[in-house]
Symmetry: C2
Subunit: 378 residues, 2 copies
Amino acid sequence: MKIYGKRIEKAQALMREQGMIGIMVMTRDDYQYFFGETRVQPRAIIPAFGEPVFICFKAEEDEIRSALGGAEVKFFGHVGEQMFSVTKTFKTLIERANHEPGFSPDVKPKVGMQMWFQTPAFLVDLFRKLNPQVQLVPSDPVMDELRMVKDPEEIEKIRQSQKIAALGMDRLKELLEPGKTGHELATEITYTMMKAGSSGTSTPIHINSGIRSCWIHGKADHEEIKDGDLVVVDLTPKFQGYCANLARTFVVGEPEPQQLKLIETYFEINKATREALIPGVTVGRLDRIGRGICTEKGLKEYHLNGISHGIGLRFEETPASTILPNHRTIKIKEDMVMTIGHTILAIPGYGGVRFEDVYLVTPDGGEILVDYPLDYEF
Amino acid sequence: MKIYGKRIEKAQALMREQGMIGIMVMTRDDYQYFFGETRVQPRAIIPAFGEPVFICFKAEEDEIRSALGGAEVKFFGHVGEQMFSVTKTFKTLIERANHEPGFSPDVKPKVGMQMWFQTPAFLVDLFRKLNPQVQLVPSDPVMDELRMVKDPEEIEKIRQSQKIAALGMDRLKELLEPGKTGHELATEITYTMMKAGSSGTSTPIHINSGIRSCWIHGKADHEEIKDGDLVVVDLTPKFQGYCANLARTFVVGEPEPQQLKLIETYFEINKATREALIPGVTVGRLDRIGRGICTEKGLKEYHLNGISHGIGLRFEETPASTILPNHRTIKIKEDMVMTIGHTILAIPGYGGVRFEDVYLVTPDGGEILVDYPLDYEF
């Protein structure tokens, strides 16, 4: 439990720097990060001063007390009570903060909340309506500082997760052939990865063939894979909460020169990006390297920004410039874990390719977590 | 395609009634509802007047044109362009609406957006920032009217999905025994359901045993199931976008009197609710029936509101009173599809039970879509 206490202390120091009176935890990733255990739809408040407060369904009382030790837990019987509990807790936190240096009763105090994909829009609006005395802000300035750099245990879990993705890709390679559907393949891959310990995937299994290899996001449906198709496969299993990301593109049958050109260009982009992935670089800089290579090859107009993103308890973590363009200027640090190969290099109406792996940032460039083969012919 | 055109027309009439100039489609369920096809992170605008506008990644251009026919499609190369496209479209829509009766240039026009679990909070805030000329409101007043009542094709898809859930539950019953973990069981159930056509589940597979049978939300982890445990299993596969919901509770070994009492009470609640599920009733009324039975049995304090909710392209659809308490007063109509058995009846520190099925609302009460056995002994 030591590591969790330290994370909370660090978060509290950052909250005070940012003038936040607390962070409202609404997502599983933040909850696991701070308390080391998982539950669905957890709700907790980490104040800038004092101990965390948990807000839980009353039937979970005994169980959550035994999981969390002597924590302060408030219980609700229905959703109205839950909201009331949150509002009451923040009133107490405002009073407490008003006695602390740096906080003033004249300024609407800030409360941080994660605003990424897992935070439902209506809960944010409801929070604002019920807590007009506070100013809701993204918790990123606190959480990014903590979560961008990974500790050894986190890196190991991401590596284990990536190993599971590799087992899934092995299974795909055993089964891929014309006439199979994405759904049939996804069924077998899911089974392989769950047997190896994956709790599921953080995005739908992406098996896009033919013209749909151009898609940024993927699915695995009932369309048959055909001879000559480009097939983009992207696997994102989770292991103990930590995400993996392994993408490969296959050509079913003999590759055409145009297909080969896309593939070889992607290899070059990945290689150059990997070497450049050193502390101090920005994702914007990595994109410029990629764009340079595409320009040389006459593929400039098919280049999309966002070649690399952070990964951890969330599938796409800061820096995530395809979601938040201002992340292009964030400086990468040692011990961050990043993907290389995020965007599709795609010619509209023809097809696209993606090769993606996960790397640890070292002073010498990206250290690949699992060195999975780059073969593409089928 | 006929049905989709009609849905759009109905939505447009409702938008005009509500004074909305358009709906911003951000979720897969709304997208499938209006256009009959699926894609990940779709973005489309349905205006109150005129044709829908699609905003897509440029590499998907050919593919999306062939999927949608002669639709108006705008393409973006990066996220900034995408946002610009949205803002520009709404400016045009405002100008168009200003010439229509019921819309005034002096009033900030309304734009509807789904605000449920799949709408990321940050995108809502970003939309508000970039489109200060409009007032963002929940699209529920339009979408609920359309989506609450299901057409025969939708009912059939939910029934197919529920049949897949039944296959998953059969598999669970074959495998359930002390020493197994929730994760092991979930692995086999997932495989069975995907082989039967499920694209995945809409919530994590819920296999909560022992004291965790009290949880509202579930997971399937590495804790072993023990003799004497209550085991709550809740399966939510999706088939062609439509959700199922089948929950059963099992006692591993000989049931204790207290366990039997919880189970029998739940059976009584479900039976009474099923009979009461007729047009004109409210979910609030169904809850009162449940509370009455719990009170008779001395279990009043363990009763939680929210015995029934809508189901369709979303796992929990309107009325969904455990999410939005004001849904308790919505009047149920014929041909709505509802679950019965949503909440856990749980004694803190002891255990909980849930038995849940999916019903079609008829004038005579709920018609069960798949009549799955209610056995509980193992």
